[in-house]
Symmetry: C2
């Protein structure tokens, strides 16, 4: 199907069809309607390749996502796509594995796809100026920021929660319900990333309530996936760790931890309370509903795009936006049993 | 960071650096190593844009996915990306909403991104030759095929299960466990798509066991999402439908249905059995573990790419691959209570 077929169908010239498709004003309404009807009937789709080749960059934003299966990112990506469309940008998604480098992936994509900017999801918290030097487009860290690195604040944008404060809130909620023996499931206590930050919030909550941290209640699972969280929780139980509540650093991991508790005959919340962070859809449908601190994913996705577009189009300044979370009281937290 | 910086760092000419980066043979091993060390130290990333502009098509496969949040697609996409990499192709993902047209989205992407081929996930089952005429690259339907349409079999490829047979298997399993009052949660009984096919399998299973279908046990939820499945299950219960087992056409919807059963005080499987199709990760962690028919998502993702690459590179014939599912007996199916 080519533009010639459309022209033949309407009995007009190819250049007339072209003028209609490019919204030139010098075409009568009657001709315009006839051409558009033929375009529709013939399912003709204009070929934009030539135009794209001429432009040095298409209006495309790249999104590098670490972990295709992480359900937390799904609603953010939806918000990013919808906001990008409003601003006339298309989105190219690139999923990378947990071991891959999002900066290299982003830089390669920015050049080969001639991107206007990048949104990074699930990246590192410790970039150096040398590492980002190869990125020749503006970028926004989405759901994280450069806590452990030494990038200038004016060289990138970020939209995120304060991981340390949110973790403290979660553990404070357990303490307010009477818990003192609180275990934690996390990747690692010192990964210079989200897991380390949330561990610090956990320690801070314990400390501010006069509870001595007990490393026997810390389970480092190394990998951010449900299987690792499930197996880590089994290990925690099976080595006889003494806890009445569990703080799991992400919802999807918390659902796997609840399964492990169930498989060892522990009821939630009667025998063990569980709290987490994120607010993924699935956590609404666990039995009981997961008590969690909900991140405003729609706002974060929308603002990541708005920030990037402002930098791209208006030379706007880079900004660092922090969001509050909302406690959703599900059914997984209750006071500890009295012995 | 440019190629000049790399050349200056090594004390060689720009053209020497270029020859190293393009793997020309006429460079000594010592120079090659020095240049590569500098490339690494300076985090220099070669600019491929010019080369991309010259080539009429980059070696890229487009993947159009209907529904970013559908966890069933996550493991297929991972397999697609991994297999594409083996064949030297990069992947561009495009998520569309349930109301959008994947053919238009695919055709536009194929042209603007100069794709070599397309993989469609979650598309329609009733394409006509006119509709696909605008696609000027080969395409593979992944997880579905053209059951209701009239495309020539040699004009596209497909990798999928037989939805009707799989649904019959699921319902047969409930019948084998003694159930006769079997309700179904699905989008629609006549959507000319997956939902209609699985409904036909449900009817066939009932019929072959001499059970009269009862439309009062059918709940059409219209939208393929957890909230709709949850609300649909509540409606089914609240209108007094008399059933001892529930067939839900997809895992994610089944998890939401289990939550609704729980919220109405019905235990799974004691008061109601549940079975589904897919085998998403999350269904391993429901309490109890969901009994489901597992689709071989890794095989399907891998074969979608292999098929497409064969058509692109060798002019291979289009093929239609069907896969068997595997019953995973979780804990959600048991014989009905005796009254």
């Amino acid at each position: 199907m080519t533009i010639k077929d459309v022209a033949a169908k309407c009995g007009v010239s190819v250049s007339t069809v072209s003028r209609v498709l490019n919204n030139h004003p010098d075409v009568s309404k009657a001709v315009r309607e006839k051409v558009m009807a033929a375009v529709e009937e013939l399912h003709y789709i204009p070929n934009n390749s030539a135009r794209d080749l001429v432009k040095s960059q298409t209006s495309t934003i790249g999104v590098v996502v670490r972990g295709v299966g992480n359900p937390f990112f799904a609603s953010i990506i939806t918000a990013v796509e919808s906001e990008a469309e409003k601003h006339g940008y298309s989105i190219i998604l690139n999923h990378i594995k947990s071991g891959e480098d999002e900066l290299t992936a982003g830089a390669e994509m920015a050049r080969s796809k001639r991107l206007k900017g990048l949104i990074l999801m699930g990246g590192c918290y410790d970039y150096s100026p040398e590492q980002v030097a190869s990125l020749d487009v503006p970028f926004v860290c989405c759901t994280f920021t450069n806590t452990f690195g030494n990038l200038g604040k004016d060289s990138f944008s970020s939209v995120s929660v304060n991981d340390r404060d949110v973790a403290k809130c979660a553990v404070d909620h357990l303490i307010a319900n009477g818990h003192k023996k609180i275990a934690i499931i996390l990747d690692s206590i010192c990964d210079r990333s989200i897991s380390e930050l949330r561990y610090k919030g956990y320690l801070e909550a314990l400390k501010s309530s006069g509870i001595n941290p007990d490393y026997d209640l810390v389970e480092e699972i190394q990998f951010f996936d449900m299987r690792s969280a499930y197996e880590g929780t089994l290990r925690l139980i099976d080595r006889g760790a003494d806890f009445t509540a569990l703080f799991v650093i992400a919802d999807s991991l918390a659902l796997a931890a609840m399964k492990a508790l169930s498989d060892r005959g522990r009821r939630v919340p009667e025998d063990c309370s569980v709290i987490s962070i994120d607010g993924i859809d699935m956590s609404l449908y666990s039995i009981p509903t997961l008590t969690t601190l909900i991140q405003p994913t729609e706002d974060m996705g929308r603002d990541a795009v708005r920030t990037l577009v402002s930098v791209i189009e208006e030379g706007g300044k880079h900004v660092h936006l922090r969001y509050d979370t909302t406690l959703r009281e599900g059914g997984t937290v209750a006071p500890p049993k009295k012995n």
